[in-house]
């Protein structure tokens, strides 16, 4: 699409025997927050670095704002980047760090000063202008890195796992910050992470990657509710896979042990693999209507209790119930599982 902010076409990158990018096609829309999500080695960082110009693709084309930048060095691509390891210039003040890009491009002093003020306002740290990076906390350094990258008004701001080095609470705070700044500036953000919750929270669209390819590119809701493959379903959130036979006439799937689960699937009759999320299952006393099982494990998480229940056929299913259970359901106890109508399955 020529209207895309960044367009990547058939990008290939190999390191020896490993293919880090396998003919990738991707369009990033103007103003969107797009996340590349995957575990290490899936190629997300390589893809970002190629767009940034820090790596050269073996084949393919990269366009930014309609310009072919494939052979251009990073400084001519008008981008911004925030790294995981901060990378603020240690011998310069915060103000000089933020103004670095504009100064390197020869902007007049007055303009630089105004822009630095603007950026400091944006990240809400105007009082730190004269400090050095060594005097700042991790969270503050990342915000300054963000300001520095945005100061040059880049076409795209790229963030390479920028919150990975921070503790959980700080990470949550900065995630909210990022979302706010994205909204206020209206810039295009390209985000890389392996943390699915982070991706779900921040993104307009997510590209789930594996083995140098994009498995699925969709909104967070679509990725969660309508994963395109078993890999994506398994990668995002908890999921239990139950194998059975789909009978469209009776709108149900029969499991190996004979138990039946209601299902409405856009598939034909035959063997299927159901993908069931914990919130789609209810825990009921034994003997009730549903699928019989035994509690294998109980674990408490913040705000919910997670049960691992083993079915008669041997499969294990995770069930989540809000709050800490009033009645103690202990491991070894028999329970019944009531499944909501299943809508997600993959043919086997």
């Amino acid at each position: 699409m020529s209207t895309a902010k960044v367009s990547v076409h058939q990008l290939v990158k190999r390191y020896g025997a490993t293919t880090a990018a396998d003919h990738i096609d991707l369009d990033i829309r103007d103003g969107e927050f797009l996340t590349l999500l995957g575990s290490s080695g899936c190629g997300k960082t390589t893809l970002m670095r190629m767009i940034a110009g820090l790596e050269t693709p073996d084949a393919g084309v990269i366009t930014i704002d309609g310009r072919d930048v494939t052979r251009l060095p990073p400084r001519q691509r008008r981008l911004g980047m925030v790294f995981q390891q901060y990378s603020l210039f240690p011998h310069m003040t915060i103000g000089d760090n933020i103004g670095y890009g504009l100064r390197a491009q020869g902007a007049p002093d007055a303009e630089i000063k105004a822009r630095v003020d603007e950026m400091l306002e944006l990240i809400q740290l105007p009082q730190l202008r004269e400090r050095k990076p060594g005097q700042l906390s991790g969270g503050q350094q990342q915000r300054v890195a963000l300001a520095r990258a945005l100061a040059t008004r880049p076409s795209v701001l790229m963030l390479d796992e920028p919150l990975g080095a921070l503790d959980l609470k700080l990470r949550r705070q900065l995630q909210a910050e990022l979302k706010r700044i994205h909204r206020e500036t209206g810039s295009t953000f390209l985000f890389v992470t392996h943390d699915q919750e982070e991706a779900l929270f921040l993104s307009d669209r997510i590209a789930v990657m594996r083995g140098g390819r994009i498995e699925q590119l969709a909104s967070p809701q679509d990725i969660y509710l309508r994963p395109a493959s078993e890999f994506v379903a398994d990668f995002i959130g908890d999921v239990a896979f139950l194998d059975g036979d789909y009978l469209p006439d009776s709108r149900s799937v029969t499991l190996a042990d004979g138990a039946r689960i209601g299902a409405e699937l856009p598939l034909r009759a035959g063997p299927v693999r159901l993908a069931v999320r914990p919130e789609d299952i209810l825990l009921a006393p034994p003997g009730a209507d549903g699928v019989a099982g035994t509690v294998a494990e109980v674990s408490h998480q913040t705000g919910t209790t997670l049960y691992a229940v083993r079915l008669a056929g041997g499969q294990e299913v995770k069930v989540r119930s809000l709050g800490l259970s009033a009645e103690a359901v202990a491991p070894g106890q028999a329970v019944t599982l009531r499944f909501a109508d299943c809508r997600l399955a993959f043919p086997r």
Partner: protein
């Protein structure tokens, strides 16, 4: 990926070699080429201070077979070996003291060992002249105490060179040994203690074997440095002793026999390089 690498649009490998060029030129023109030149000279003969055309092996043959020359090599090696041995004996207690010392003392102890290295060797040798000379410290003191009638000859001979050389190169041995000793886990010594080993036995069976790498490294370093030493033998030994570096100097600047001087130098260099490579091989095996 950087100012000097092959990102799209930046000059790559050519730039890299261009940046290396001046440094390479410096070493090539001032070390490599002159050494090669020198090598060539060693195969020539001279007469009345002029280099004669034509190649000959006479210099090398003379050096390796002439009786006087053999003494030269043997004496040089023995002197260097003596310095090495002395350095090891003197250096061990110091290294042990540093390794055992509490953290705050270690800095000063290190300093006192390393500081002399930054003082000119001429000055250091001069100091020894003052100490060992006929009217020097030692002789005056011994004379005043009535222990000797005539001054002892402590300079202008191998003894002076050995003493002076030890003082010059001892710090290298100490620093090397200290590294080794500090790497020894104290618990090994505690274990030996618990097992009933007396101090001497613990030293022989635990400390000494583990200090061997440092000892070898230090010895190799001191030996090869002493082989190539010039100032100390020159000032403390003079023309009375047979030492390779002094002989080279005499041949080159006094007798104007450049071919023989260069032949000797090359032989010396081959030995020093051989020692260097052997030591590298040893340390590499150690780390494996």
């Amino acid at each position: 990926m950087s100012a000097l690498a092959a990102t799209p649009g930046t000059p790559g490998r050519g730039m890299r070699w261009l940046a290396l060029l001046p440094a390479l030129l410096l070493v090539t023109l001032l070390v490599a080429l002159p050494l090669v030149d020198m090598g060539l000279i060693s195969f020539k003969s001279e007469s009345f201070g002029q280099i004669q055309p034509g190649f000959t092996l006479a210099n090398y043959i003379g050096l390796l077979t002439g009786a006087g020359n053999l003494t030269l090599f043997v004496n040089t090696f023995l002197t260097a070996a003596a310095v090495t041995l002395l350095s090891a004996l003197l250096g061990f207690p110091v290294a042990a003291a540093i390794a055992r010392a509490p953290e705050k003392w270690r800095g000063i102890l290190y300093f006192l060992v390393a500081a002399p290295l930054l003082v000119n060797t001429v000055v250091r040798s001069y100091g020894w002249l003052l100490i060992l000379g006929r009217k020097g410290l030692v002789n005056e003191a011994l004379g005043a105490l009535g222990l000797i009638d005539a001054p002892l000859a402590l300079t202008g001979n191998y003894l002076g060179v050995i003493i002076g050389g030890t003082q010059v190169f001892l710090p290298f041995m100490i620093l090397s040994l200290t590294t080794s000793l500090m790497a020894i886990d104290r618990r090994l010594l505690d274990a030996a203690d618990i097992l009933g080993a007396g101090p001497v036995r613990a030293f022989l069976t635990v400390t000494l074997p583990l200090a061997v790498p440092g000892l070898i490294a230090g010895s190799v370093l001191v030996f090869s440095l002493m082989l190539g030493a010039f100032v100390t033998p020159l000032i403390l030994g003079g023309t009375a002793i047979k030492y390779i570096s002094v002989a080279v100097y005499t041949d080159a600047l006094v007798l104007f026999n450049l071919p023989r001087a260069t032949a000797m130098s090359l032989l010396l260099m081959v030995v020093v390089l051989a020692i260097y490579f052997v030591q590298k091989r040893l340390t590499r095996q150690q780390e494996a």
